[in-house]
Amino acid sequence: MDAKAMIDSLSSQFPGVIYDAQVESDIRILAKVKPESVKDICQYLKEKLSFGHLCCEFGVDYPERNEIEVIYVIGSYEHPVLLTLKAILSRDDPKIGSVVPVYWNANWYERETYELFGVKYLDHPDLRPLVLPQEMLGEWPLRKDYKGFPNKTAKNLV
């Protein structure tokens, strides 16, 4: 199954949920997904299209569009195609379902994305703080309008 066939299979299986699907090259495909059904799609990808490896999951902040994108990069051990899935959330109250039941390694990615962007993962098994110190929790430092940087003049700067 080549890249084109994969995207067709995905679009026909989930009409309206997958949109803006694109074949960028023989080994890269790109699609946007409605946030509600991201877990079902991952389930389908893993079971039917042998996308067995979640390489990465992260967020991107777009303040001028008032959006936060959560991006899933999913690869496979059986074919060379790499899929980029984007889910677009509102910046004011970003919420998305967790994909930990499908890809267990999403656990720490989601904990990190929650801390740095404030994306709430519903039904995540264990959304404890991971990378930030206690006093910085809830500041979402990777959002572009974050203001809490230290002053620009460290003492011994050369």
Partner: protein
């Protein structure tokens, strides 16, 4: 020696601590007295030749720190030995960026080290924050917290630079100019 009273006190509180016929003193009174004598030179000679350091590799500079402790550079000949427990160590090497999350742990390592102890700021990150000086997670101006004796610039500095830093520290201890002891 400033603590010692010329007139022995006989009130109830002190009596419980005292041993009859023996003049007791505190540890710091002895070491304060020794600092004024030639004996301190001998003590410093011993201290400078056994600078054991903590192995807490913090940033990418930590890799250089680790390889300095390995067999290739053979720092044992200067008495510089890596120790895995802060309780055995004399020198804290801040080897990389100090994040706000790591800072309490570093402070704790420092507090666990027994005196006399010294600090080496190893790498640009430890000196000023380096490439990360205005990151949201960097703790700036770390030398306001730790009494840093030696700064080693470089990103990362080489292992030889660290050995040079130890040599400079030895010179400082010999000259009684280090910040590890109050002279």
């Amino acid at each position: 020696m400033a603590e010692v009273e010329p007139v022995p006190t006989n009130n109830e509180d002190d009596m419980q601590e005292e041993i009859p016929g023996v003049m007791t003193t505190s540890i710091s009174a002895i070491s304060d007295f020794l600092k004024k004598t030639k004996a301190q030179d001998i003590i410093n000679w011993g201290r400078k030749n056994s600078l054991w350091f903590t192995v807490n590799a913090m940033g990418c500079c930590g890799v250089e720190l680790l390889s300095t402790g390995m067999a290739h550079y053979d720092t044992d000949r200067f008495g510089i030995i890596p120790r895995n427990s802060p309780r055995h160590a004399d020198v804290l090497i801040i080897s990389g960026y100090v994040t706000k999350k790591y800072f309490p742990a570093l402070k704790r390592v420092w507090d666990q080290m027994p005196s006399p102890k010294w600090v080496i700021a190893f790498g640009d990150c430890a000196i000023s924050g380096g490439p990360f000086y205005e990151s949201y997670s960097t703790r700036q101006n770390i030398d306001e917290v730790f009494p840093v004796d030696i700064y080693v610039p470089g990103c990362p500095p080489r292992c030889e630079a660290l050995i040079q830093a130890f040599y400079e520290l030895q010179q400082k201890i010999t000259a009684k100019k280090d910040k590890g002891t109050d002279y």
